[in-house]
Structures are given as C-alpha cells and as structure tokens.
Subunit: 387 residues, 2 copies
C-alpha cells in the first residue's frame, strides 16, 4: 500500500532532497561544504525575510526555543507567554526550568490571543523583558497574528517579541525585519521539507543586544558562538551535514517558487481541506485557522481510534490525533511543506471513505467537490502556483 | 576522481545505511519507528556493554558533553578535567560556561594522564564531584587507559568518572558496566558509521542518582526527560528520524560483526597505518596511540598546506590537519568506523605518492609493504575479521 504522511512534522521530503542526502558524505570543513552552508545562510535570510543572520542549530525545534530563553534572559527575569496549546505552553515550561518568572496568558485551546490581551498583561506586569508567542499552534491548528502583536507591543515597549514559528515558517506570510520581530525559531522537518534534526533562529538587533546581558549557562546552544561561526559560514560544532545538504536543495526550491507563492499555496490548500471537511459535515476545531495544519472535531458517534486505524491501515494515510485534553476529540491534517492539490483531493477522498466505512452520514463526493470548488475559486490568483 | 574521507568525523557511511535513510520518511510515533528505536536502544546497550539505558540525543557530541555537565553537577561544584588536547580542554570550557569549579590537569598534548596523576589531583582537591577524561583524544591521536583510571578512582572515591568516548566507542575496548564507568558519551558520525546529528550518553546508577541533586537549568538536554521517554522506547522531542533509521542498520552490522571483532579490527588497522608511516620515515605524534586516529608529524622540509593539497586534489584523500598550536605541524589519518584493509593500503600508498611528489626521501613501496606485513602478523588472530 502507498503510504502518505499528513502530519505536521515530519512532513514529506522531496525525493530529490532525499537522494542528495544519500550521496557520499563530505567533511564540514571542505570548501564544497562551506559553499553549501553559504547558500543555506543566504537562502534562509530570504525565507525569513531578514537581513540579519539566521542561525542553524543541530537539534529539534525545542532546542532552538530553549536556546532563545537561555541566550536572551537571565534567572529572575519576567517574561510573558501565551498558553494557547501544547506548544505555547512549552514556552512556559522552558521558562520554569530556567527560573524565568513566567507571566502566563491562558486562552482557551482553539483560540488565539489578541494584541489587546498582550498589552493588558504588559500593563499589569511591569518589567517584562520579552513576550513569547506562537505563530501557528500545531496542537490546535490556530493562527496568531504576530504582525499585529509585534506592532502593538513595540509601539509602547522596547522589549523582545519572540515567536515560535515552527509550523509557520514557509507556510504563513512572515516578514521578520519589516514586522519588527526579535526572534523567530523553526525546525527542519516542517515547512522546510527536510528530515528532523535542524533548528533555526533569526535574531533582531534588539535580540543580539540581549545576548550581552544574559547570564544563563550555555555552550552548545550559545548564540554568540553560533553568530561568530556564522560570520565565516561555519558552525561552532559538527553540524548534521547530510541534513544541511538536503536543506540547501530544499531552500533553492523555495527560492525558485518564491515565498509569496508558497504562502499563497498554503492558504489555498488549507482552505480546500477546510471546505472539504465542512462539506462532509465535519466541524472544524479552533480559529483563526493556521495554514499549516487543520484541526477537525471527531464527529459524534465516531470513535477516534477506529477512524484513525481505518484511515491508516486501509487507506495508507497518517494524520495526527489530538494532544493532552484534546486526545480522541480532534484529528489534525497537515498541509505544511511539500504538498499540492492532488494530495489534498486525495486526503479528503480518504476521509470520505473512512467516514463512510464508519457509517457516518454524508453525501459521498461532497468533500472532494468542495475541494475542487475551492481550487476553482482561487484559480486566477494561483495560476501556475498551486499546481 | 574518487574521493575518500580519512577524517575522524564525519567518517564514511556504509552505502546501505545511506540508502535506508533516503527512503520515504516515517512518523516518529508510528509503530514502525517505535520498533526501530527499540532495536537501537537494545543494540546501543550491546555496543556500550551495559545493562543501563544509553540515551540518544539529537545534537552533536558536544551537546552530550554539555548535557552531562548540566545534568550531573550544580554551580560551584568542583570537578577535575584533563587537558590533553582540544577535546579534553572542552570539558573545562563547558565547566567554566556553567560555573563549575574546574580542577585542570594539564598534560603535554600528545601524552595521556596516568591513574596516579588523577589520584594526586583528587588528594589535593577535596570535594571533587566528578573526573572528566577523554578515551581517545581526537586532536592528538592519544589513548587514555580509562579502565585503570576508573578502577583507581573508585577504589578510593565514591565520585563519577565521566568519559568522552566520542572517537573511542566502537574502536576501543570499552565495557561500561564491568569497568565501573559513570557516563560515556559519543556521537553518530564516528565509530557508529552514521552521519552527524546524534549523540549518546550511557549512565551508571551513580550518575542517575546525581540527576536528582543537579540544579542547573535544562530542558532539551534533560536526562530525566530522556530516561522517562526511553522507558517507552520514545524520545522527549522529535528526534533526527532518518539518522536513527540509519543507525539501526549500522548497529545491526556492528552486532553481527561483534564488538570484540570491531575492537580488534581497529587495533590492527591502526598498527598498520603506524607501521606504514614509520617505514616511510615519518615520525608518529603522541603516545599511547588511539586506535581511531593516527597523528603523524609533518616531516622537516615539507609544507603542510602543499602536502594536504596534493593528497586531496591529486589523490582524492581527505585527512585532518593539526588543531590549535599543532596546526601545520601534524596531520591525522582516521581509521574509525567503516574501514578495512584495502582502505589502509590505499591511504598509505597515497601518502607515499604525495611525499614523493614533494621530494621527501624514502624507499618507494616501503609504506605499503609494512602495512602488508602488519596484516600478515595479525593474520591468525584476525582470520575472518579484518577482511
């Protein structure tokens, strides 16, 4: 059976990227690799829409989240984080592990914070050094308007706005410099279409200034060491060479397609999945919707474990379930990275077949028809893009 | 031109391992991956000769070194490290970054510490919590007898013996439980024949007890989180999936060959390289010799940069140069991991051609003849092993 992955990380890897990584390994101090890393560094700046350095770490995305806390803050510092799902919550967990005083803004999982909510917390908690937010909350499929939040915060406060962009970079419009973001982190196994093992962090000048005062112990995750090496297109420690070689190819694909096209593609694919699910009679979970992952409520009378088993074992499709208290209540379909229209028609068709097998009542074909209609609606805008 | 890597990390990857990693990616929560991780966990125990867990981290080897300091110690603790080269020195750098009080034993680069030296430092510095040593010092090609040191330390002190085994695991005899080691760390791109991006740490019961009292902040590198996940053949964060899939295959190759055979193979290949170099008239650097990497003095009248250029550009062989004050003074030939007799004959032949091109005086053929003689000397012992 053909197996297809619709999970928000790992995401599918282009075949050409996989094969590049299977070539004989080269040494990371060889001129050949330095050239690859130079290209990676340049194209990461393009992807992140920044003139500043984008650091590449060998770790998962969480490593880059921790590195941000460890490099910008010190014990006893106060920082805001928004608990809007499992990954927003993680900022708080890292802060607690480090002895940062966390100011938690808890919103219902499935919703996103408004700029006003952040400003209110800032007003009530003087002395906050940074605000930690989540661009695309993977656990709930919810999008946060980081552009508005960064603008609102920076209008009144000279503090850092730190963004978890792990499932947003490459999916959602993100203009690091123009929007005045201070840090955004992501991982390789997401919109970057590479296997897991690399993490990235872009730093603003404000963030770089904060490195000077941070007192937390760090060595492997030191941004200062990484910046110093970056200046020579080098890394302070042996990097995950093969993954960087794959990344170089993936970033060139992104550059060729242009980020604007890729952002639009994710918007269209996301709307197609949502329209398909709604046409079948499924209720979407959470709003506003992330363009990277769609969270859908498991309908009344359908047991998640059976649904998931049929979808995976009979139709070869792996999606993600709910996490924490959402376990068994939602499923999540990813359309982040290397996906196109055909994939989306396919996954919605498989959802139809699975729900039909489970005696869920709906009009067969309604899902895929809605998907087609969405593509038709965007046809002019996406000419030559989504296809 | 065929290119051949003789560097102590990255080391060559078996073709079958590379191709396995190029297969379509699978999700790390899929039963298929859990099975792979279960096999990895079991075979790592075999490789490390321990009944305890061997943790797998997504980072370079330095990440595992830092994790060991961060998980076992607290600020103000006293610890001994041996500065016998660039990597021994790194233990001290990490300690300083963490505010551990380092007791430095500096030995001349190219030599190894004796048990007496360590005992002497312990006697002079009461209250030391751990001794950090280096099994195979990659920068100088020197071997430290960790078995004797661990025995000597533990005879008198109930403290941790922590070993950098980055270029020794899979090359040198190492019996974690039997020798009473407390932590040994390594990286994937060394004896394990996998690309860089994974690091490993084995922990004794004594080390695990120390996790309870350590006060350093940590999250991504938390051994407690890793141990908890390990119990379910899981990882706390998305691991470098493709590298673990490659590792599973590489570990099965090691298991099939047996660790004893692999240790013997590295000993023989190492002696062959050394005998070949000496027969050409080169002087070996450092002693006792690591079986993973051979350090050789650049002879009088030969310029390292020219030597390296010819070796690499004319004969396709990449070796490593000297580091820090040894830059330009030595070169290092690695025979760690996926090498056999033919590789060794080849690299010594290329050394002969390069030195001949540089007008170095020696008997042509003397190097490869000595290599052959070494293999002949071990023929009985290695029957079916080195070939």
């Amino acid at each position: 059976m053909k197996k297809r992955l619709f999970t928000p990380g790992p995401t599918p890897i282009p075949e050409s990227v996989m094969l590049t990584m299977a070539e004989p390994i080269i040494h990371h101090r060889n001129p050949e690799f330095v050239e690859i890393l130079t290209s990676v560094n340049q194209n990461l700046k393009y992807l992140f829409q920044t003139k500043n350095e984008v650091l590449t770490l060998t770790s998962s995305g969480t490593g880059a989240m921790e590195a941000t806390v460890a490099n910008l803050l010190s014990a006893g510092d106060k920082a805001i984080f928004v608990n809007l799902g499992k990954f927003g919550e993680r900022w708080g967990e890292i802060m607690k592990a480090y002895g940062v005083e966390p100011v938690e803004i808890k919103v219902e999982w499935g919703t996103a914070p408004s700029p006003e909510l952040i400003l209110d917390a800032l007003q009530k908690n003087p002395g906050v050094k940074a605000v930690f937010i989540t661009h695309s909350e993977t656990s709930t499929g919810v999008f946060t308007n980081i552009k508005e939040i960064a603008a609102a915060v920076h209008e009144k406060y000279d503090i850092a706005v730190v963004v978890d962009g792990i499932t947003s970079v490459g999916a959602h419009e993100m203009r690091f410099d123009e929007w005045g973001l201070d840090v955004i982190v992501t991982g390789s196994q997401k919109g970057l279409m590479v296997p897991p093992g690399l993490a990235f962090a872009a730093l603003s000048d404000r963030a770089k200034k904060m490195l000077e005062t941070s007192k937390f112990p760090k060595y492997y995750f030191s941004f200062k060491k990484a910046l110093k090496a970056h200046a020579g297109n080098d890394t302070p420690f042996t990097p995950a060479i093969t993954l960087i070689i794959g990344l170089e190819k993936a970033l060139r694909m992104i550059k060729e397609e242009t980020v604007e096209s890729i952002w639009l593609k994710h918007k269209v694919l996301s709307q197609a999945v949502r329209s398909g699910c709604e046409a079948i009679g499924l209720k979407l979970f959470g709003s506003p919707a992330s363009h990277a992952v769609t969270a859908v409520n498991i309908p009344e009378g359908v047991e998640y474990s059976k649904f998931n088993k049929i979808l995976k074992q009979k139709y070869g499709i792996t999606t993600a379930g709910g996490q924490e208290h959402l376990k068994g209540k939602i499923f999540r379909v990813s359309h982040l990275g290397y996906y196109d229209e055909v994939d989306i028609v396919g996954v919605v068709a498989a959802l139809e077949w699975t729900l039909h097998d489970l005696n869920f009542k709906f009009e067969p074909g309604s899902g895929v028809t809605a998907v087609q209609q969405t593509f038709a609606k965007f046809a002019e805008e996406t000419a030559g893009v989504v296809k």
